[in-house]
Symmetry: C2
Subunit: 340 residues, 2 copies
């Protein structure tokens, strides 16, 4: 696709601007992606520090799109709206839907005079526990809510990652959610703790053996009681030292343990959100995110007797499109109920 | 105390040789410490790599003691007996007492012709879970078992630390135990995860506020269900971001969470080891280790309604002395039942 060429019908520039990456989408009035780009200029990795860095990253990614499509609106979601972002879009409280996001969005004007509407994050403050927060996932969720009224009515959306999110949906709104630091805990344990010392970096195990080690971790999690995690992870050392597990499989075992713990807690909260209904009782459970990681979650959930309803990838562009509609920046596509 | 002076009655040189430190004790025939020294020559920090490093560290710490006390026996415990140690003393299985340790010790002869008897670690292999291991703590425990037949008959010994150990004792033997990576998980999360970013290194909070934040973490742990830990630790970020807790207290909250999780799991296992008897039902619960850390455990246990029976420091020299007796290297003190 030629760079900078005038796109017939370009109606929106949408930015998914996270901590470590910046993704841009040029979309038409029906939400179709005409062009897309990505680079590593996440907010922790700007070409220069501070506001000039945001300006430079934005112009670098979108300059020719803007030149070729004057006055096309621009929206952004993700960490760009955090306290360390271009402009802070404070968290909105649950329950929140896409209209809530739009009504509490923050506009920033670039040096070149382009206005960017930034989506807020979402907070959930349970009565009996510390508050939780998310930022960026609300946009991915908005992308699903608009297109699937059945899932918007009631579902649990699971977004695996560095900080996994388990989000309860009812009547088109995020009603409550919980964050799990699964991916980050895995990273710091393998890179910085004694557990990583036994894990070779130059040996790749077969897929079947890796699945089996992962499953062993999930089964250990399934058998755990409250408080057991920091005990159970030590097995990623003892299984190696006692030669009960090949060193190149210890990572998969640890991954299964951590994901397994996340799942048993997330499923219990999902059940509680339903007033005690058992997980897997027919309410949709959706996995949203990267394919490889989601496949691990499918395997893990299967070991717990749960089959996810669907696995969805890259719903952020769709969500940014809905956010722009809800904000009145573009018209809803004709003949389409957008459910925002 | 003069260095190298002939000690009347020196009967044993005992080494507590861990990962990051080397401690030596010159003891008389009754187990009294005549002289002691410590340096940073743990097995991961030797003056030079490999065997010459062990030789040099040993001669550096004990050379004059050996010159002044020819033919005094030498014993050692801790990581010096691991696969990365001077000589590997393989793990012995539970149930194990001090005699078991002595019967499975490994002798190594130094270049200068001095024989050092190294204690083995201990392993516990439950029928339904991965094996667990400890090394070094068995010596600290041996120091308690010899002097307190009441605690040797039945007790739970808790050794807080980088890798905390909860050890069940019955009839003078370690019968089962569980490791918790509490201290190391705290260290990697505060140093290497996003949680550490909000924690200032240059602000010291008052003791009362720190205790309150620690207590809030313990109470959150007490309210937790299976799998909740990687969710709950995220509160060490959200409480800071939402300004519900001062940044300089987030570390104490996280510490309370992690220690709290260890305690609810450890107490449940202690109860299970007793066939379901409730923790705190009169069976001795002993804390062994560093004063400051043990005080945190006393506070945490108190929040769970448990008062530890005793808090013991530095029982390793006593344990090495008992190990030497059990190995026949020195005679039991006259008129004293050593219970080994």
């Amino acid at each position: 696709m030629e760079t900078g060429r005038k796109r017939d019908g370009a109606a929106l520039i949408a930015l998914d601007w996270g901590t470590s990456s910046l993704r841009g989408f040029l979309m038409d009035g029906a939400g179709a992606v005409l062009d897309q780009r990505a680079n590593a200029h996440g907010i922790q990795n700007l070409p220069q520090p501070g506001l000039p860095g945001f300006e430079q990253a934005f112009a670098g990614l979108c300059g020719d799109w803007l030149a070729a499509n004057a006055s096309v609106p621009v929206v952004a979601g993700g960490m760009v709206g955090s306290a360390q972002g271009w402009a802070e879009a404070p968290y909105v409280a649950c329950p929140a839907d896409t209209s809530t996001l739009a009504s509490r969005a923050i506009a920033v004007d670039s040096a070149a005079g382009v206005r960017i509407l930034i989506a807020p994050g979402v907070t959930y403050a349970p009565p009996d526990a510390p508050p939780d927060i998310l930022r960026g996932e609300e946009i991915q969720i908005a992308g699903v809510l608009a297109d699937r009224p059945d899932w918007a009515r009631e579902s649990c959306m699971v977004l695996p990652g560095t900080h996994s999110k388990w989000v309860q949906i009812r009547d088109g709104r995020m009603t409550r959610f919980a964050t799990y630091m699964t991916g980050e805990v895995f990273a710091v344990l393998t890179k910085h703790s004694i557990l990583g010392r036994l894990m070779p970096t130059d040996v790749e195990a077969g897929a079947e053996a890796r699945d089996a080690a992962f499953a062993e971790g999930v089964r250990a999690a399934r058998a755990s009681g409250p408080g057991d995690l920091t005990h159970q992870i030590f097995a990623a050392r003892t299984l190696g030292i006692t030669k009960r597990m090949a060193p190149e499989l210890l990572k998969d075992f640890l991954s299964g343990l951590l994901i397994g713990h996340e799942m048993i807690s997330g499923l219990a909260r999902t059940g509680a959100a339903l007033g005690g209904a058992a997980p897997g009782s027919g309410r949709p459970l959706l996995l949203i995110g990267d394919g490889a990681l989601c496949r691990r979650y499918v395997q893990g959930l299967g070991l717990l007797g749960i089959e996810p309803t669907a696995r969805l990838e890259n719903t952020a562009p769709r969500g940014l499109f809905q956010f722009a509609i809800a904000a009145g920046l573009i018209a809803p596509p004709a003949g389409k109920d957008t459910h925002v």
